[in-house]
Amino acid sequence: MTTSALIVVLYYGLVPLAASVVAYAVIRRTYTKGDRR
């Protein structure tokens, strides 16, 4: 149970961390170079 509990603890922070980092890249790309679609 301790291993799965530790996974949940890490997952709880890593999901928003990943979302923020991806969003940062999208923001830099879109607003400094323009939307290229």
């Binding site: 709880y12 928003p16 961390l17 969003a23």
Partner: protein, 540 residues
């Protein structure tokens, strides 16, 4: 009585603020989208406030109390990241379009008044039902707190949110939502921190809960899966449920009308994006305390029934009076803020998206404003009557109504930005197919006792029906040139939004949120993992 006094006092504060703000409403743009001038703090406040309702403070805290606190913590990160993903995939384009309502956005994207009316119809039915559920929940709570009959409590609650919403529209909802957001954040975090402290601190709480006989495995990630009260038959089933619902709720916070419409009020699209980051973090931070605190209430009393009243029981029986009053006022604020946003939305949709399909008359600003307020009042009265006569099913209807929008709006919202192939007929067919599939199947599950396997969850089938509807409906129809032109216009970044200072500031919001994600891990590590591993090691 002191609890009732706190709640009634808060009602009066919201009313006074609504009256003051409402005096400045002069145009439809003021009334519908607060003049598109809201800063990050107000957009973040209203995003979280319209999302968090009595469903969170009563239904989900009750679920944590029943033994599924950590399972809810598996669901929440997926759900909350919907804010950041949603604003990038949909919200910022919505803000760029400068429409007054989300159905109007769909209507313009496909150059179709029929689609605008259909989307407005889904808002009216889906959010109308959600509003009935939230109003009913708050009325039951007030009636229990004050000891008055349900009818009178319903009238007081209804007046509390209808009066300021009707008069002040979006500006009043924005400011009151933000005040309510602060109240319920303080109530949730402080109330639960006090409960954990009063129970002896995280170590004592964890060791007591690990040994709790009636709810075995209450602190395990999958929750209680054995015994007569288990909601799931195996750990895999429980985790699959959490992941599925997490994705469904991520779609809801990304595209649902009561969430995405908040971006329309933002000063510019950078404010929309920044608000997405703030909302994601606030929801994640609040849920740590709501869920683990909900489980902690078992230390004081493991037999509260119904479990939805667990936090209120704790506010009355464990917390000091001053904090109990804040908690009860916060719970009511959570419900009231959602109710105000829902009433505004159904009023706006009926007046702006549906009525013009039937009455094609030109109105000046003042007449249009008066018409919007009249429509909102009539709909408010309908909600009052339906709530009075409908049987209690607060959380069932709440969850049910919310999930309708994931399948109905999700695929159309994303594809209308990223695909040129989808047509007006495809969008209507997809929206209706998703809505009806979830409506019928979820209705059979909730009210007729039909059991579906996890993989055949109504929302998953609703997504499939919506995609199929879009594909089949788009066959053989040409895209409208005006619709394609509108799409091209929203794909162009406004020049002022490429200003380096503005971009740098938004980038900083992303980086700070990334850093704060570490704080979430540390908090959970200290109050959950560390005490749990120590207890299990000591018991081994």
């Amino acid at each position: 009585m002191i609890f009732a006094a706190g709640v009634i006092f808060s009602f009066l504060v919201y009313l006074v603020i609504g009256t003051l703000v409402g005096r400045r409403v002069k145009s439809q743009s003021d009334y519908y989208v607060a003049g598109r001038s809201a800063p990050t703090i107000l957009v973040s406040g209203t995003l979280v406030a319209s999302f968090i309702s009595t469903v969170a403070f009563m239904g989900e805290v009750g679920f944590a109390y029943d033994g599924y606190a950590v399972l809810m913590l598996i669901l929440t990160p997926l759900n909350a990241s919907g804010y950041v993903i949603g604003v990038l995939l949909f919200g910022r384009y919505l803000r760029r379009s400068e429409v007054l309502t989300v159905p109007e956005f769909f209507g313009k994207r496909f150059d179709s008044r029929a689609l605008q009316a259909v989307a407005g119809g889904t808002v009216l039915v889906g959010i109308g039902a959600y509003l009935v559920a939230v109003t009913q929940g708050m009325s039951l709570l007030l009636s229990d707190l004050v000891g008055i009959n349900f009818g009178i409590a319903l009238l007081v609650v209804w007046l509390a949110y209808t009066a300021f919403t009707l008069f002040s529209g979006s500006p009043g909802v924005l400011i009151n939502d933000t005040i309510m957001f602060f109240i319920f954040m303080i109530a949730g975090v402080l109330g639960m921190v006090f409960l954990i402290g009063e129970a002896g601190g995280p170590s004592t709480v964890v060791s007591e809960l690990v040994g709790l006989e009636g709810k075995p495995g209450i602190l395990s990630p999958h929750g209680v899966v054995t015994g007569p009260n288990a909601a799931y038959s195996s750990p895999a089933e429980a985790v699959l449920w959490a992941v599925t619902l997490g994705i469904v709720w991520a779609t809801i916070v990304a595209v649902s009308p009561w969430q995405s419409s908040r971006y329309l009020m933002a000063k510019n699209e950078h404010v929309s994006i920044r608000s997405g980051f703030v909302a994601m973090f606030c929801v994640l931070f609040l849920y740590i305390f709501l869920m683990l605190g909900g489980a902690t209430i078992n230390v004081f009393n493991p037999d509260i029934s119904p479990s939805e009243t667990a936090f209120i029981w704790a506010a009355k029986n464990v917390l000091p009076i001053w904090l109990g009053v804040i908690v009860v006022t916060g719970i009511v604020a959570a419900g009231l803020s959602s109710a105000a946003a829902f009433l505004a939305l159904i009023g706006f949709s009926a007046a702006h998206d549906i009525a013009p399909t039937f009455f094609r008359t030109e109105r000046d600003e003042r007449t249009a404003l008066r018409f919007s307020r009249t429509v909102m009042l009539v709909l408010g009265l309908v909600v009052l009557a339906v709530t009075y006569f409908s049987p209690p099913a607060v959380f069932t209807i709440g969850y049910f109504a919310a999930t309708l929008f994931a399948a109905s709006w999700g695929p159309v919202a994303v594809l209308c930005i990223f695909s040129e192939r989808i047509t007006a007929r495809g969008a209507i067919t997809g929206m209706v197919a998703g809505f009806l599939t979830v409506f019928v199947l979820q209705g059979l599950v909730e009210f007729a006792g039909v059991v579906l396997p996890i993989w055949a969850d109504p929302v998953i089938l609703g997504f499939a029906a919506s995609f199929l509807g879009i594909f089949v409906g788009s066959l053989g129809q040409r895209q409208s040139e005006a619709g394609l032109q509108f799409r091209r216009s929203i794909l162009t970044v406004p020049t002022e939004d490429t200003e380096p200072g503005r971009v740098k500031r938004t980038g900083r919001f992303a980086l700070v949120t990334a850093a704060l994600s570490g704080l979430l891990i540390v908090t959970l590590f200290i109050i959950y993992f560390l005490p749990l591993s120590q207890t299990l090691t000591a018991g081994a």
